[in-house]
Symmetry: C2
Subunit: 302 residues, 2 copies
């Protein structure tokens, strides 16, 4: 059975994402995001499930850095999870005086706590799952956790669907070593990371290579290079699949323009939104134009 | 005396930055980044000191969002601080069995802890300063804090300059309501936030407006719009001061192209790096060219 390493511990949103992306496979928690990636690179796992982007917090720095460094990994599928927390207590819980969770989770349910558990003191733990463990051990009275936590820790569910921002979402990737790519679906995301030359207009040049081919940008994140503050690498997501002529042409142009481009995957988007294609920039347009140039070169057309 | 609200509590890196940016002024901690900004908007404080970017973690989401929403605030100066932690204990401390700090701080000193306090258990707290309080109260044995913490909490300094990544740095801004701008220095940063039209090539178009004027990009962050995952606003920093002809010209072009542009400040860069100017894109070039067009319009030149 294939083994999937996920950013643990058990009972977090990433486990929940791994279950949806790798149904029935053997799931193993890793201590950190880099550790989950290392497991795949070392062959100890077949794939890794990690968060990439949250609609409130933004990009997940450790995932971006991990994709750019060491051996290449490629995303083959993605999941989009609503960030709705559960609040768990012990069966024998009396008055709730302390509520534990990761500081980010506590920040995302502050209004709910003020309205529903106004007397309870928030307490920081290293993860949402660590909060569940601490409640189980009697250290605190309630934990703010991912819904899946209750399947690991025998606690009482006090509330579900808890979130101050109703439509907060996190996107997760399933990463593998380079191999057969998923088939194009018509609603794909292609991702690359590029270290643009440090000269005026270099990023504008990269994005223009996409724009002139009618390719819609999905996201762009700049990450500082650790060794040189003020220098960045760019994570660029755009519509389409590298198997398509228009996308292959654009990715080749990025490769020409950059010191360093790494392909991070072409796979269907979880939201199913189809790629936009502007007049003159469809795959048929690219194929027809290339055929015409070939015919001109052979002296058959003009 | 002017009052400066900073993202607290007392004893964190932001207090340290506020001390360096607003020497001798009255510093008041705020509970959150939005609360520090609200204090300025409401007139309760003259300025706010908040973190904007860390070389390891990336941009500070709460600061970016706070700059784009509600009443406008403008950065007037910046500080760049090395993220070097201190490790504090009680005077009477015996063996160190627990080390408390914010999870991000613990992550940044993990190797140091493994090498120097191998038996100690890391414990998460809501902030680095909360860890110092917990140590003072006897709850834990050691705290990983900002260097300034020891000035508020009478603890013993076990180690200073602690950091796994030696040159990790955080940049902080001092924000005010719009008013007189700092004078151009020749090594300035100008910042704007723009909601680009959701059409293919819109971001490429914005960056090209900078590139064709020879203006070097300093950073670019995309932040998802909370109400609409997949739509972004762009925080764009570039070299130069809006008082310069070349920069004013570029900012006017961004204003034309976008639904919504907000000016976030022009002020000297903490690293003092001078702005690059390419041939034909200096301020004199812009002024001379505009004068020539005026003369042509008057029929005096051709």
């Amino acid at each position: 059975m294939p083994t999937i390493a996920y950013f643990g511990p058990q009972g977090t949103f990433t486990e929940q994402a791994a279950r949806s992306l790798a149904r029935g496979e053997h799931l193993v928690p890793a201590d950190t995001i880099p550790a989950a990636m290392r497991a795949v690179r070392a062959g100890a796992a077949d794939a890794a499930c990690v968060p990439i982007e949250n609609s409130v917090e933004g990009p997940v720095a450790a995932t971006l850095d991990g994709l750019a460094e060491d051996g290449p990994l490629v995303a083959v599928t993605e999941a989009l999870l609503a960030v709705h927390f559960s609040v768990l207590t012990r069966e024998d819980a009396g008055e709730i005086r302390t509520v534990a969770s990761h500081p980010h989770a506590l920040a995302q349910v502050r209004h709910w706590l003020e309205a529903n558990l106004p007397g309870a003191e928030p307490v920081a733990t290293a993860s949402t799952a660590a909060a569940a463990v601490a409640v189980q051990q009697g250290q605190y009275d309630a934990a703010v956790t991912a819904p899946v936590a209750v399947e690991h820790y025998p606690l009482r569910v006090l509330a579900t669907g808890v979130a101050d921002v109703a439509d907060a979402r996190t996107r997760f990737l399933l990463l593998r070593k380079p191999g057969t790519l998923p088939e194009p679906s018509g609603h794909d995301r292609t991702s690359v990371v590029a270290a643009a030359a440090h000269s005026t207009g270099s990023l504008a040049g990269l994005l223009t290579e996409l724009a002139v081919r009618g390719i819609n940008l999905l996201r762009l994140d700049a990450r500082p290079l650790k060794e040189n503050f003020g220098y960045y690498r760019f994570f660029i997501d755009f519509e389409g699949h590298i198997a398509e002529p228009r996308v292959g042409d654009a990715v080749a142009a990025l490769r020409r323009r950059c010191n360093n481009v790494r392909f991070l995957g072409s796979h269907p988007r979880a939201d199913g939104a189809p790629s936009a294609v502007e007049p003159g920039t469809g795959n048929d347009d690219f194929t027809d134009a290339a055929d015409w140039v070939d015919a001109v070169r052979r002296g058959e057309r003009a």
